[in-house]
């Protein structure tokens, strides 16, 4: 048993994780004729809490309760993995990326998330404004404008051979490359790194 836990605690390689994520597509279809997509959960929260008479939030969200239950499960799964089968070693990050990030002012490379950015102390600072508030807003606004995120477009959409999803995925990547290579450095200097 201990050996099994030890084995589970190692970081899982892509060829284990990828197919498991891919199998979510047929699992949802077969379990309940559901289409894989996670960003929709954010829309359901709006529809439940602050519909404000907006047509975009006026729909039968009760029928989509499954989606909220699914994301609640993701949160619980995150808790279980971190509490019971967490990797005892430090995360291994590509040397080149470490150097580039160190040059940007990141000093903590020990965990899954750098504490230089993702800590409560940064909440009411320019760093927090950029990485939590603006970053989160772009994710929520962009995914809904695009009609889906990595799960709905890149995985579900491309898996069902729908070219609009390929277009969306290409633009996810363009946005990400542009932010990483061009915009992030000046922004990080601006917020005090």
């Amino acid at each position: 048993m201990n050996q099994f836990i030890e084995w589970l605690s190692q970081p899982w390689p892509w060829y284990v994780a990828g197919p498991m994520i891919g199998l979510t597509v047929p699992a949802l279809l077969i379990l309940g004729n559901k289409t894989f997509g996670i960003s929709s959960s954010l829309r359901h929260v709006c529809a439940i809490c602050v519909p404000s008479g907006i047509p975009f939030f006026n729909y039968n969200w009760k029928k989509e309760t499954w989606n909220l239950v699914f994301v609640l499960g993701i949160l619980i799964g995150g808790f279980i993995a971190t509490t019971f089968i967490s990797n005892p070693n430090e995360i291994v990050i590509a040397a080149e990326t470490q150097q580039e990030l160190a040059a940007l002012g990141i000093t903590d490379f020990s965990g899954l998330m750098p504490s230089d950015i993702f800590s409560w102390e940064n909440l009411f600072t320019a760093k927090g404004l950029l990485f939590f508030v603006i970053g989160g807003f772009l994710v929520g606004f962009g995914t809904r404008y695009a009609g889906g995120c990595t799960s709905g477009h890149a995985i579900m959409g491309i898996s069902s051979l729908q070219w609009p999803s390929l277009v969306a995925t290409i633009f996810f990547m363009i946005g990400g490359f542009l932010m990483t290579h061009v915009i992030m450095e000046p922004l990080m200097k601006l917020v005090g790194f």
Binding site: G73, F118, G136
Partner: protein, 161 residues
């Protein structure tokens, strides 16, 4: 009135529930279990890590490309099998995969999401797993993402699409 309702329904959903029969209470537990498994994979494969997303955009690691690529290949094979073998859902319904129509939003919105993806190191799924993993500050990111979704909904009819 009927027409308006129909339109509102047509608006719905990029990840729709096409099952005809309703599901309540315990029937929803299967989605909870599936979500839990999914969350565990997110953490164990370090997909929730801001560093892994940085590596992906800096092209210094194959990991994320391997994850997404093999997920897509698995998805393609699964859907082809479902279609060709005529596999039905457990409640006996024909499996229905809605068509995604092309809109300009997939370009503009996709680009905007990409900017946010690189900053936060998370797409919407990992946000939930990060919070579950104890990075509670991500609650703020999630609330902001919900706000972003709301603002899109508020101005959806005014944006080029």
């Amino acid at each position: 009135m009927k027409v308006i309702e129909k339109k509102a329904e047509g608006f719905v959903c990029d990840a729709p529930n096409t099952q005809a029969s309703g599901e309540k209470g315990l029937a929803l537990v299967k989605y909870l279990i599936l979500g839990i498994l999914f969350g565990i994979v997110f953490v164990k494969a370090e997909i929730i890590s801001w560093f892994r997303i940085q590596e992906m955009f800096r092209l210094t690691s194959f990991h994320m490309y391997g994850v997404i690529g093999s997920a897509i290949v698995t998805g393609i094979i699964s859907i082809q099998l479902i279609k060709r073998l005529g596999i039905k859902s457990i409640s006996g319904e024909k499996i229905n995969i809605p068509t995604k129509e092309f809109r300009k939003g997939q370009i503009y919105g996709g680009f905007i999401f990409g900017l946010g993806w690189a900053l936060t190191g998370a797409c919407p799924g990992p946000l939930f797993a990060q919070i579950g993993s104890g990075f509670t500050i991500i609650i703020i990111t999630l609330l902001s993402a919900i706000a972003g979704t709301w603002v899109y909904g508020r101005f959806a009819d005014k944006l080029p699409n």
